[in-house]
């Protein structure tokens, strides 16, 4: 069933007659007219009074959900309501690491589902999402790390996911800037490599899904904040917004850091804490860094964007915040680790720093589920590492909303697990979770 979906995905072209297809020919044609005649990638309609499904949150996950609702389930009477601009939340703030080498079966299934969709996504959407499988290298600094990473490798292989062990010398051959010297405070003693892992262009993912959803009839409405969730008894009937009341048969909340705020409007308290997670980029330099490298133990990860900037991810602040800033000492801690692992970067200047508000669950696994309110669904808890899951999350969440029951892949990611105790404890397994 799953394999079928990937195949269908690859061959399917957007069906809507009016969408301008992107190709080498359209590029050439538009070049001749000075690029003045490109059609807008999606409409900006006025909200209608009622929809079959309203998605709250126009990040990658919300937009992907709308896209698959239309494409896989034929539900096109859908609005995506975004309080700011598309992808202005964590989607546009993340460091774009994509991998599927998770420890537990449940996680492996959902992240690998995503990975397979990533592999055909540019063709599927007719939009270059710049998915680059340059490899994700996870460093070990001692016997404990080695055991943990090797356990991941074995578990992944049993789940059909590529992941392999490298010696320090092999790791350096794969990633030449890496310092494998013995003088490090925490010398590199090996690494796990997922070759199919890599990066993608964050904005393009949001824009590509938005364009594909719009072409299938979904209304994408920006600058429209949801301010209330209207219930009739135990059923959701619509949402109050800054642009008026919108009735809805079903509501899917995909609001990342603001999940607790939106769910409180429906009277629900969530197992979530929202904390700032920050990243920074250096001045652009020539191609020097060929992969993604990350170290859980000393907390650092790095890759190079196509613009040439080194993209460096730091940790979370320790307290709940909606302030989208991120403290200096957190960035400093990461940069100390980066310059020790990659001494050639010690004199680079940093260009920009920013933070997003990430929605962390106690077990650090997501929630994609029905809620106690009928017709109200929630997709959240992706925390520090949900960009990589965007296609798979949207795909199975659309199924959950359309059929009012979870897809087998997201069935374990319930809200009730915090009551039953059936956690999916990637918190203990991952550390640097991006």
């Amino acid at each position: 069933m799953v394999n079928d979906a990937y195949r269908r995905g690859r061959s399917a072209a957007p069906s809507h007659g009016t969408m301008q297809r992107y190709s080498i020919f359209s590029l050439a044609r538009n070049a001749l007219t000075g690029h003045r005649n490109w059609q807008a990638a999606w409409r900006s309609p006025e909200p209608r009074p009622a929809y079959e499904v309203v998605i709250v949150g126009g990040g990658g996950h919300g937009l992907a959900t709308a896209y698959y609702l239309a494409k896989e389930h034929g539900i096109t009477n859908v609005a995506v309501l975004e309080k700011g601009w598309l992808g202005g939340g964590n989607t546009g703030r993340n460091t774009t690491v994509v991998r599927s080498n998770y420890l537990y079966d449940e996680s492996a299934a959902i992240y690998e589902h995503s990975m397979k969709l990533w592999e055909g996504l540019a063709q599927e959407l007719n939009y270059n999402v710049m998915f680059s499988q340059r490899g994700v290298l996870m460093l070990a600094h001692g016997s404990h790390d080695e055991q943990v990473l090797k356990r991941h490798i074995h578990a992944d292989r049993l789940n059909g996911i590529d992941n392999e062990w490298l010696t320090p010398a092999q790791a350096k051959a794969f990633c030449p800037p890496l310092n494998i010297g013995k003088e490090l405070r925490y010398p590199v003693t090996g690494a796990a490599l997922q070759r199919r892992g890599g990066t993608a262009r964050h904005d393009a993912v949001a824009w590509g899904y938005a364009r594909g959803a719009d072409a299938r009839g979904v209304d994408i409405i920006q600058n429209c904040a949801v301010t209330g969730v209207r219930r009739d008894g135990d059923r959701v009937v619509g949402v109050e917004t800054t642009r008026g009341y919108i009735a809805a048969g079903k509501v899917g909340v995909v609001a990342a850091g603001h999940t607790s705020v939106v769910m409180a409007m429906a009277g629900l308290r969530m197992p979530i804490e929202s904390v700032p997670l920050q990243a920074l980029v250096s001045e652009p330099v020539k191609p020097v860094f060929p992969c993604v490298a990350m170290s859980n133990a000393i907390h650092a990860y790095i890759s190079q964007s196509d613009k040439g900037e080194l993209v460096i991810g730091a940790g979370t602040d320790q307290y709940v915040s909606y302030g989208q800033r991120g403290s200096f000492h957190i960035a400093e801690h990461t940069l100390e680790a980066i310059v020790e692992l990659f001494p050639i970067f010690s004199r680079l200047r940093m260009l920009r720093q920013w933070a997003g508000i990430v929605d962390c669950t106690p077990d650090r696994s997501p929630i994609l589920a029905r809620t106690p309110v009928r017709g109200l669904y929630v997709n959240c808890g992706w925390g520090t590492g949900g960009f990589k899951a965007t296609p798979g999350s949207g795909h199975v969440f659309a199924h959950t909303i359309a059929r009012d029951e979870p897809h087998p892949i997201n069935a374990p990611f319930t809200l009730e697990r915090f009551r039953t105790g059936r956690l999916i404890d990637e918190a203990a397994a991952a550390a640097v979770a991006h």
């Binding site: 308290r269 969530m270 200096f328 915090f418």
Partner: protein, 97 residues
């Protein structure tokens, strides 16, 4: 970096402290607690956008715990008070409690 006023030591840099999360969550009685009680106690959080009451630990100082009220949109601290004390009366109106 936050500047945090420990009720015993005065203002110190955030790196001396650990945040202990939401304050005033009472542990249910194990003899009578239901699964839902445990869920509320262990996992459900207010996660307020606005004023929040939280616990801090002066781990690299006097090693004592205390409570604070902070606005999670501005990071401004509105009050610091000792463990076992209720939030200051001036705050309670703002919190609607």
């Amino acid at each position: 970096m936050l500047l945090i006023t420990c009720p015993w030591c005065g203002p110190r840099a955030e790196i001396e402290f650990r945040c202990g999360g939401e304050a005033h969550i009472a542990r249910p009685d194990p003899a009578t607690a239901s699964d839902a009680d445990w869920e509320r106690y262990l996992f459900l959080r207010e996660n307020a956008k606005g004023v929040t009451l939280e616990r801090w630990w002066h781990v690299h100082g006097c090693r004592r715990w205390f409570n604070a009220a902070r606005d999670t949109t501005t990071e401004e601290f509105l009050a610091f008070y000792r463990m076992g004390e209720p939030p200051p009366a001036t705050l309670r109106a703002r919190l609607g409690r």
